[in-house]
Symmetry: C2
Subunit: 301 residues, 2 copies
């Protein structure tokens, strides 16, 4: 029975559409570079790299549906061109596909890390969507959110690749911490770009987080400096649909000290992550991992 | 970072709500009985049983959302009491939870079967939702749909449990085939109950499939016997919202030979599945697996 293929053309089209849109592919690059620290790239590492990118794609499909985002990487999202039902199921299929690729590593610990990461991501997303708005302006809460949203998958990439490449346990832990630090820095830069970026380069509109009533690091730092500015709390509280007000808020934050201060925080994390690399085998792979930290600080998309 | 729990009370409430609603728990029972053929129930088998039931629950959450079903097991579905976004994310979380439980078996082959099953289920659901309506009245297509929808998870339960219990490979295959046959019979009986069942016993309304324009085995058999009855094709083609017409169609099918013929088909499958058990170790576990076949034929919910 299992042999009968459930050929379903629209699913193939959807997956092609998603993958052709590109993206930075930073997560699979982290997997492959981590593996290269220890051995030539093999089938298992390639499967893991594909699994991580597929998992990332699956979460984007459901996130875009939930947020009602219509554009990503400069192309329409799946929910913009398909029904909600098809979008839910395609995301589910991609989760399953990712799990199937991870299973091909034939490594039990990798599978466990993989499942744990997916739970963290889902919990974080639920927390962001439906959590207590009162704690939203809390720095601790912000870090927890972006850990779940982004850093957990960077951590998966580096930790699982190190496990698969049979790195010594202290180096697995160093790479795991490197993944967490770079992941948080990556998301901070993402949150900065939502204020400073060029919509054409980003492939999506700016000011999105504020429009959704989401307080990111630039907002938290701006509010520290301007505790008496009533505009931002008003937007956050009311999810104001007034586009002119949101544009004004974006302008104020973009021109404030909050931006360089947020960049400085991202840089501290990148430096701490890069410092973890000192204990690892020297060579081009380690140098490339260091370089990725620099690239994160120079992101323009 | 990972140590910080993302305590999220509504998720716990939702999971409690789903699990407290009960259900027949036939899938975890299949896991535990299969395991007991070979050894005392251990931690790994219990984790697998929980993983299979959790995966089943996850698929129900997304299915009910997609179908807009408001009642299951006599209690409101998650989508009836929560937002679509929360429902999507809770389903995702349950998939992740199921994968995490499966990973605790620490068996690579079990994990691979698990991931493959989830892909089959998603593809089948996509096919059912968006496939070509022209092939819908095809018997082959019906069997493929219910394999993906139900039998694949029965197959997962028995095959993975046999693998985990280190059954000899021919017995793994016999148990796998038993799972497929009983799963298809189980779904045929489910499709019959949608015409003959008591809504109060079922915990959900009857005539659902027809209302959604879905042709199940009783419909296919009825159309074979009554090729000139225009009512059924009219409902299937138009997804007629006319409740009186749907009730009349349910009545005609319920009182036709299609019902005993469909039951007879389910019985053939149950007998074939039970015959697979002959090669397995004798004892109470095997007797219980045989008995499950009988119970499937006697389903009233």
């Amino acid at each position: 029975m299992r042999e009968i293929p459930l050929a379903f053309e629209p699913l193939k089209t959807a997956v092609d559409h998603l993958l052709a849109a590109g993206g930075k592919r930073i997560r699979p690059v982290l997997v492959l570079l981590t593996g290269r620290l220890y051995r030539p790239t093999d089938e298992a590492l390639i499967n893991l790299a594909a699994a991580v990118e597929m998992l990332h794609t699956a979460t984007l499909v459901h996130d875009d549906l939930i947020d009602g985002s219509l554009l990503r990487r400069g192309v329409p999202t799946l929910n913009a061109i398909w029904t909600p039902a098809a979008t839910v199921l395609t995301g589910d299929y991609l989760f399953a596909y990712a799990a199937s690729l991870a299973a091909r590593t034939e490594n039990v610990r990798v599978m466990a890390i993989f499942a744990r990461t997916l739970m963290t991501i889902c919990q974080g997303e639920l927390h962001q969507q439906f959590g207590n708005r009162a704690t939203m302006l809390n720095r601790e809460d912000y870090l927890r959110r972006i850990y779940a949203k982004t850093a957990a998958m960077f951590e998966l990439a580096t930790e699982a690749a190190a496990v698969l490449a049979q790195a010594p346990e202290p180096q697995v832990q160093a790479l795991r911490q490197y993944g967490v630090d770079l992941g948080i820095a990556f998301q901070i830069m993402d949150d900065i770009l939502d204020f400073t970026g060029d919509a054409r380069v980003l492939g999506k509109p700016v000011g999105n987080d504020l429009r959704q009533g989401l307080a990111t690091l630039p907002v938290l730092l701006y509010l520290e400096e301007h505790p008496d500015d009533p505009l931002i709390p008003r937007i956050l509280a009311g999810s104001s649909g007034d586009e002119a007000l949101i544009e004004e808020a974006v302008r104020r934050i973009r021109n404030s000290e909050a931006i360089p201060r947020a960049i400085a925080e991202a840089e501290v994390l990148v430096r701490r992550g890069q410092a973890q690399l000192q204990s690892l085998p020297d060579g081009p792979a380690r140098e490339a991992l260091r370089w990725i930290g620099e690239q994160i600080l120079r992101r323009d998309r």
